[in-house]
């Protein structure tokens, strides 16, 4: 039995190692200065980079975080501190359902309610779709982190004459801060690579754009467009973009782990 589960875990690790290794083999050689700072060149030509996609990813994910994090954190805090009643149960249930919703379903709603009324694709619609994906995830992990704060701390604050809301913010949320930050980073990492909901919201853009009301490129869309395109040059860039995206997500995950580990040093 031990051997069996050992072999199975080896297969799991192997899969990850193969993916990472293959990405490095196929993509690393295309990573040069131009890749990061140049915009795409017309199809068929050599050279060019994906600066538009990198900037686009930062903008779209950033706006999504701006919308999603406050709502998610607030909901999580509410669930942990006041969510023992019926309403809390409903919110928790909805969040769990939303958490399991395929991202393409969220995308089509964003398309129906934002892209169609606005009349055109936009980065903003993509950000909203990503924010919707983010909120239930952030809410539930924040709730878990806040619940880890010992009840005795709440009591101590209340006995000292803290009002309930101030206890929640000043004592409980502050104590859980490292955990909440971690859940935010994990949430951001999770949406950074999303592609499906962006296909019919942000759409993608082969040119540089920094207007959130216009179509915008992201690394994930770039991988999709270039990877399925007809040119070898595009395939090369798709691998490199995939490698950068993977590296970005890995970096966020590692930062999250590091933040959680150093939580006890918070007051030093």
């Amino acid at each position: 039995m031990t051997t069996l589960v050992g072999v199975l875990s080896f297969v799991a690790v192997l899969a990850l190692a193969v993916i990472l290794g293959y990405l490095v083999v196929k993509g690393a050689s295309s990573l040069d200065w131009n890749f990061f700072v140049k915009n795409p060149v017309p199809a068929g030509q050599a050279g060019g980079g994906v600066a538009n996609a990198i900037v686009g990813t930062v903008i779209i994910v950033g706006v999504a975080a701006l919308i999603g994090l406050p709502i998610g954190i607030g909901t999580g805090l509410y669930l942990a501190e006041y969510g023992s009643g019926r309403f809390g149960w409903i919110v928790r249930f909805v969040a769990d359902v939303l958490n399991g919703t395929p991202s393409i379903v969220v995308g089509i709603f964003a398309w129906t309610w934002l892209v169609r009324p606005m009349g055109h694709f936009s980065a903003l619609a993509g950000s909203v779709a990503l924010a919707v994906l983010m909120v239930p995830m952030i809410a539930r992990t924040t709730e878990e982190m806040v619940r880890l704060v010992p009840h005795s701390l709440r009591e101590a604050a209340l006995a000292l004459g803290y009002p309930r809301w101030r206890t929640s913010l000043r004592i409980v949320a502050r104590t859980a801060l490292a955990g909440i930050l971690t859940s935010c980073l994990v949430g951001i990492a999770r949406i950074a690579g999303e592609t499906a909901p962006l296909l019919f919201t942000a759409l993608g853009n082969l040119n540089f754009s920094s207007s959130i009301l216009q179509p915008m490129q992201t690394l994930s869309l770039q991988v999709f467009t270039y990877g399925t395109g007809p040119f070898d040059e595009w395939h090369r860039l798709a691998w490199a973009a995939a490698l950068v995206l993977m590296g970005l997500v890995l970096l966020l995950s590692l930062t999250a782990r590091w933040a959680l580990r150093s939580r006890h040093g918070a007051a030093r």
Binding site: P150, S152, L153, E155, A266
Partner: protein, 258 residues
């Protein structure tokens, strides 16, 4: 020798019953805590002594299903009156718990200042002075005066508990409630806290819950014995321990049960 009576500090429970849902855990208790005295509340586990303590500063009603009938009088006024804000009340009745509960994200200084800041309206200088005074009264000043900006978690368990006492004293309460304050401390830490009770009773009225009978004998002027939610007997500590009026009390203090 009785200290001069100061009605402002006097706390009294009148026919107090504490319930969880429909289950009464403290039943019809009437007791007077004289000003400038230490009253020990003793009894076996589950006798309702901690719940009773939490009724005095209206913490019990924060527990799930917790509610109260009867009254508690502080300075002659009913603390359960509709016009009383429990948040304001808790600033007049300090409380210290079984385990030290320093706020982990705050410095030593900020822990003590926490209760002052939540009140607001004090200048930096006033807060500084109040923090020093509270730490001195809690006999912790000399040990921490050079590291006020360090994390409260750097202190030992006994120091943390004295920090919590300082935190409770800083807003100048009238009454101090101690819920088994030495339960998690070593003998040296316990002794410091007990000495503190003697010093602090000159300024405050103290109620201490303990399941350590020797401790009750050492620190208190009066002792109340609770059993199964009833107040069985209350009296001067030396009388209650030497010639208890009730058989249950005698059985408990001689170690025949509990």
């Amino acid at each position: 020798m009785a200290p001069p009576a100061d009605a402002r500090l006097q706390l009294e429970a009148v026919r107090l019953t504490a319930l969880y849902g429909r289950r009464a855990v403290v039943k019809d208790v009437s007791i007077l805590f004289p000003a400038h005295s230490v009253t020990a509340v003793i009894g076996p586990s589950g006798c309702g002594k901690s719940t009773f303590l939490r009724c005095l500063n209206r913490m019990h009603e924060l527990s799930e299903g917790g509610w109260v009938t009867g009254t508690v009088l502080l300075d002659g006024a009913d603390v359960y009156d509709a016009g009383v804000d429990p948040v304001q009340l808790r600033r007049r009745i300090g409380m210290v718990f079984q385990r030290p509960t320093p706020f982990p994200t705050m410095t030593i200084y900020d822990n003590v200042a926490a209760g002052l800041r939540v009140n607001g309206g004090r200048s930096r200088g006033e807060v500084d002075a109040a923090v020093e005074q509270a730490l001195r009264r809690a006999a912790l000043w000399d040990e921490v005066k050079d590291r006020l900006k360090k994390s409260a978690l750097d202190l030992s368990g006994g120091q943390q508990q004295r920090l919590c006492i300082a935190r409770a004293l800083a807003p100048e309460p009238e009454v101090l409630l101690l819920d088994e304050p030495t339960a998690s401390l070593d003998p040296a830490g316990t002794q410091r806290i007990e000495e503190l009770c003697h010093e602090l009773k000159h300024r405050y009225t103290i109620v201490i819950v303990t399941h350590n009978l020797q401790q009750a004998g050492r620190v208190s002027d009066y002792t109340a014995f609770f059993y199964l939610g009833d107040l069985v007997e209350v009296g001067r500590t030396e009388e209650l321990f030497t010639k208890p009026a009730q058989e249950q009390t005698e059985a408990y203090i001689t170690g025949r049960f509990g």
